[in-house]
């Protein structure tokens, strides 16, 4: 195709100029990729540390009753809701443990251990001792362990609000990475907690996680659950409702990232159009003779559109490589001595492909401005001027 061939030759004939503009686009795209992926990585690690090993949707009892009866029916109703990943149930209750002359408030969490473990990763977080083996055992967090000064195998008296005292054996210590949990949660078996608080076969909550790639759809999934359950005795909450500050922070980051990317993109378009507009002048002789030889206006314009496309293609590709290089370099230089990264890199392929396509499309569109200028070029003027 002649316009493509001419576009290629025009770019090759001004190697320095072409290299400069390709380099310019590559720098711009690399900034986009670097900033974009950095912010995406930042957001993901922030979201993971906030809600990663936590249920993202919870069904709780409403009104005066603080327990849910016939919960097996509800679990069956929600099990097939699209987007839901893991489901577990919990029977929790406030209690306290004596410590020297005072008492410490605790939250007894009675889990269906296997399914809850998949949500919280409890067994992986046990740093001393072992998993629960009987209904008379508990796991306590690192902060509580330090405060109480207890050891594995010790008996822990748990005081319930009704005045009862029950002795549990400490089977292990966990560290779930969140201070408030490590300090207050005493983890035991579902049935043990039900007996401790006199819930009989009732529970206090159904906890769920959503598919990893649908974290931000938690509110929509929660709405579908509410619809499926259709029960006034329970309410469905999701992490987005409970973390509004985090969400607005993330949104702010996304907007600022978009603004940076928009400005970079606009400068790319302006730079390409102005450089290609100069080529219209530089190549006016060639264009004039091509028009005299009968090239159509469309094909003459296509020369510049193709130049934009080719410049964009090379610039965007080099830019992505450069941006990823920058990101890995940043990650290496900001890592701690033990090799822990300051910000975990998350390669979002969709974002990269989107940036690539946008850069190439913008660059091609930028070629339309000089293409329009080329339409005005009259071959007679070129021939007359010699």
């Amino acid at each position: 195709m002649l316009p493509l061939k001419i576009a290629t030759r025009f770019l090759k004939s001004g190697k320095g100029q072409t290299a400069l503009i390709v380099f310019g686009i590559a720098i711009a795209v690399s900034v986009q990729i670097f900033v974009g992926l950095l912010i995406i990585g930042l957001q993901i690690s922030l979201v993971n540390s906030t809600i990663g090993n936590q249920p993202q949707i919870t069904i709780r009892p409403t009104g005066d009753t603080n327990t849910i009866k016939n919960w097996e029916i509800i679990v069956n109703q929600v099990r097939n809701v699209d987007g839901l990943d893991k489901i577990s149930v919990v029977a929790a209750g406030n209690a306290s443990v004596p410590n020297d002359n005072s008492i410490l408030p605790i939250l007894v969490q009675g889990f269906d251990f296997q399914s809850a473990d998949r949500i919280y990763g409890i067994s992986d977080s046990i740093y001393q001792g072992e998993q629960l083996k009987s209904l008379k055992q508990v796991l306590i967090g690192r902060s509580l362990e330090e405060e109480l000064g207890v050891e594995i195998g010790d008996k822990l008296p748990i005081l319930t609000p009704d005045g009862g005292v029950n002795l549990f054996e400490i089977a292990g210590f966990y560290d779930l990475g969140i201070e408030s949990i490590n300090k207050s949660w005493v983890i035991t078996n579902l049935v043990a907690a039900q007996r401790l608080f006199g819930y009989r076969d009732r529970i206090t909550g159904i906890i769920m996680t959503v598919d990893q790639d649908r974290l931000f759809d938690a509110d929509k999934i929660a709405a579908r659950i509410e619809e499926a359950v259709n029960n006034k005795d329970v309410e469905v909450t999701n992490w987005k409702d409970q973390n509004k500050d985090l969400l607005s922070g993330l949104e702010g980051q996304t907007i600022s990232s978009s603004v940076i990317q928009g400005v970079v993109l606009a400068s790319v378009v302006v730079a390409i159009s102005s450089v290609l507009s100069i080529t219209v002048l530089q190549k006016s002789r060639q264009l004039g003779i091509l028009k005299a030889m009968g090239i159509t206006d469309r094909d003459a314009s296509l020369i510049f559109v193709f130049q934009g496309l080719l410049i964009g293609l090379i610039g965007a590709t080099v830019g992505i490589a450069l941006g990823l290089g920058l990101l890995y370099a940043f990650n290496t230089f900001t890592s701690s001595a033990e090799g822990t990264a300051l910000i975990e890199i998350y390669i979002d392929y969709n974002f990269i492909i989107r940036s690539w396509v946008i850069a190439i499309s913008s660059s091609t569109l930028a070629g339309l401005i000089p293409a329009r200028r080329s339409l005005k070029l009259n071959p007679v003027d070129v021939i007359r001027e010699g």
């Binding site: 090759k12 060639q286 003779i289 091509l290 028009k291 005299a292 030889m293 009968g294 071959p379 007679v380």
Partner: protein, 235 residues
């Protein structure tokens, strides 16, 4: 058969003041003839050629090329006529410096065809052979002499086998020996390709190689004669 006809052509450039450069021009060219349009610089002969080549439009009057009335054509149709019916040879050669000699010759074909067949390539090589620069096909225009560049431009003008070749001061930039060679080449081509040749020149020597000499002065035709003293095309 008449290949090219101008009737009542006027050209007025309007700017700060109006400047009429052509006055009621009536001219027709028979197929397969070789004519020269001569005149001093500023006589309007180049404007006349631009109008004949549909590079410019007359202010009034009609141009007919190969039975097509130019004023009824759109830009695309005009581009097509320029590509298929007319071959241009300019004073400044106007080769594309980014393309080799062979590629420059192929461009008129590629403008309206997506690719070139082996047959087309052979035709381009044959044309380079006819103009005597077959060995230079891989060179860039900047790597060959002015005469060789003009030969390339002539081969390019012939590429689409046009019925008309318009040459505007084709030897204006060449020395006298090269001018003689180019004139001889035109003669040979005319014989071989049966093309209508119209040469615009201020050089009487170039005109003396043609069958007919039209003289233009101040935008008017002052004489239109058959050339009885054609210079023989000898090597």
């Amino acid at each position: 058969m008449i290949t090219l006809e101008l009737s009542g052509v006027n050209k007025i450039y309007s700017g700060a003041y109006q400047n009429q450069v052509l006055f009621d021009i009536n001219l027709s060219f028979e197929a397969k003839t070789c004519s020269a349009i001569v005149g001093e610089s500023g006589s309007g002969k180049s404007t006349l050629m631009n109008i004949m080549g549909i590079l410019d439009t007359p202010t009034s009057g009609e141009v007919t090329i190969a039975s097509n009335i130019v004023s009824s054509m759109n830009r695309k149709q005009m581009a097509e006529i320029r590509n298929r019916t007319i071959g241009f040879v300019f004073q400044f050669h106007y080769l594309l410096p980014e393309f080799t000699v062979l590629e420059n010759v192929l461009i008129p074909h590629l403008i309206h065809n997506r690719s070139q067949s082996g047959q087309v390539l052979n035709r381009a090589r044959n044309l380079l052979d006819i103009v005597g620069i077959a060995k230079l096909e891989k060179r860039l225009p900047t790597q060959i002499s002015g005469g060789e560049q003009q030969r390339t431009a002539i081969a390019r003008a012939l590429m689409n086998n046009p019925s008309i070749i318009l040459a505007d001061e084709p030897t204006g930039n060449l020395d006298s020996v090269t001018t003689q060679n180019v004139c001889r080449l035109f003669g040979e081509i005319k014989k071989e390709f049966n093309t209508t040749f119209i040469v615009v020149t201020h050089d009487r020597t170039v005109a003396s190689h043609t069958d007919r000499i039209v003289e233009v002065r101040d935008g008017r035709i002052i004489s239109d004669k058959l050339n009885t003293k054609i210079v023989p095309q000898t090597r």
